[in-house]
Point group: C2
Chain length 202, copies 2
DNA sequence: GATAAGAAAGTAATTAATTACTATCTTATC
DNA sequence: GATAAGATAGTAATTAATTACTTTCTTATC
């Protein structure tokens, strides 16, 4: 919804396109984001998009790369200097929630991409993202077990699934109420239950 | 994928349409289910569908009614004769998981419908379904608190959100691996952590 | 109880929109 | 003034929905 159709370099235009998609996903159903809608949002003609992307799939691929890079980066930075594995998990949780609150369209896109039957490049990127996410969690869980912070009988896989599901539940709740920002308020309350579920009995 | 294009009564045809959509959603992305695809799956011409539904939205509405009715019915039946609130919650959980395993397309459709920006009749049905679901959970949580089975300091709302999120996490995991049936195996493991999170310290 | 009339269900072809994508011309910028 | 970026104006394919027509089923009447 800008006004001047400024000429941008190819790199800048690609980035602007990705950011437009992220913004649009916050407002509407990701599957309804057409190339015409993207172009309109950035005050460009639809055909011009194909100067910078070979096809629509490539746009989605770039978007998923953007998301994976930013999210994992922030996750990793959030645990810096935190010794306690449990505290690190909480930091990751809150960072993730903050990321979602800033970019409400992201979880919709991720889930929408996972829904697809075919294995598109974008879908594979999402699968890789969540896999890497799970690896980080698993590492922390192991540390927490030997640490004594987490229950020694904890099921790692189930704990990882539930961690991600906890965030997914918050997202679903925000879709239900239409109020994405409330997720910031609800997140600590839900994580408290999760922490109790995985923590040691001390 | 039938063979004879038998003539059905309007009621029977509407039910067959709904069941076809449920089946198709298990195989492909719900948003890609076209009226032509539905018709082909039930060996009918595309136009014939509009003898029984005014438009496509009405088909989705009927599908959501089917889902809401069946799921809530099974949930309610599953708690019959169970006195312990915690055991009742576990029964609901397992019943829900079994329902999803039988109809893998259902959670995709529900989430896809929630994604939509506009408030369609189908979306409102999903919202009502989850609201009623939450009411049942809340009731059990209250009973569990006075019972002593659940932590007296438990946050009801957060516990409800996490309950649904836990299932959502299992669904996401099944989308990731492509193996929907594994949800039956993972469900008890994940619920064990959840139960620990909400239970009393005894 | 046979059967004709009408209702109900289905077919096949076509519609207007919308989609992703492309070919060709124009212009801003270095 | 060369060239990269954008505009303009298309394309073919797909979509939900509608049309005119046909087949099948139901039921009222003799």
């Amino acid at each position: 919804m800008n006004e001047r159709p400024k000429k941008l370099s190819a790199d800048a235009r690609r980035l602007a396109t990705v950011e437009s998609v992220i913004q649009l996903a916050a407002l509407q159903n990701p599957v309804e984001i057409t190339t015409a809608a993207i172009a309109k949002h950035m005050n460009l003609t639809q055909g011009a998009l194909f100067r910078h992307f070979p096809n629509k799939e490539a746009i989605w691929q770039s978007v998923m790369e953007w998301v994976a890079e930013r999210l994992l980066n922030r996750i990793d930075r959030s645990v810096h200097g935190i010794d306690s594995p449990l505290a690190a998990m909480e930091a990751i949780f809150m960072t993730h929630v903050e990321f979602v609150a800033e970019h409400p369209g992201v979880p919709r896109m991720l889930f929408g991409e996972l829904q697809r039957a075919e294995s598109t490049p974008a879908k594979r990127l999402v699968q890789t993202l969540i896999q890497r996410y799970g690896e980080r969690l698993n590492h922390l869980i192991e540390k927490g077990k030997s640490n004594g912070e987490l229950s020694s009988s904890l099921d790692n896989e189930a704990a990882s699934t539930l961690f991600i599901g906890t965030i997914q539940g918050l997202v679903m709740q925000s879709l239900l109420t239409g109020d994405v920002q409330r997720i910031r308020h609800d997140a600590p309350r839900v994580f408290a239950i999760y922490r109790r579920g995985i923590g040691s009995d001390l």
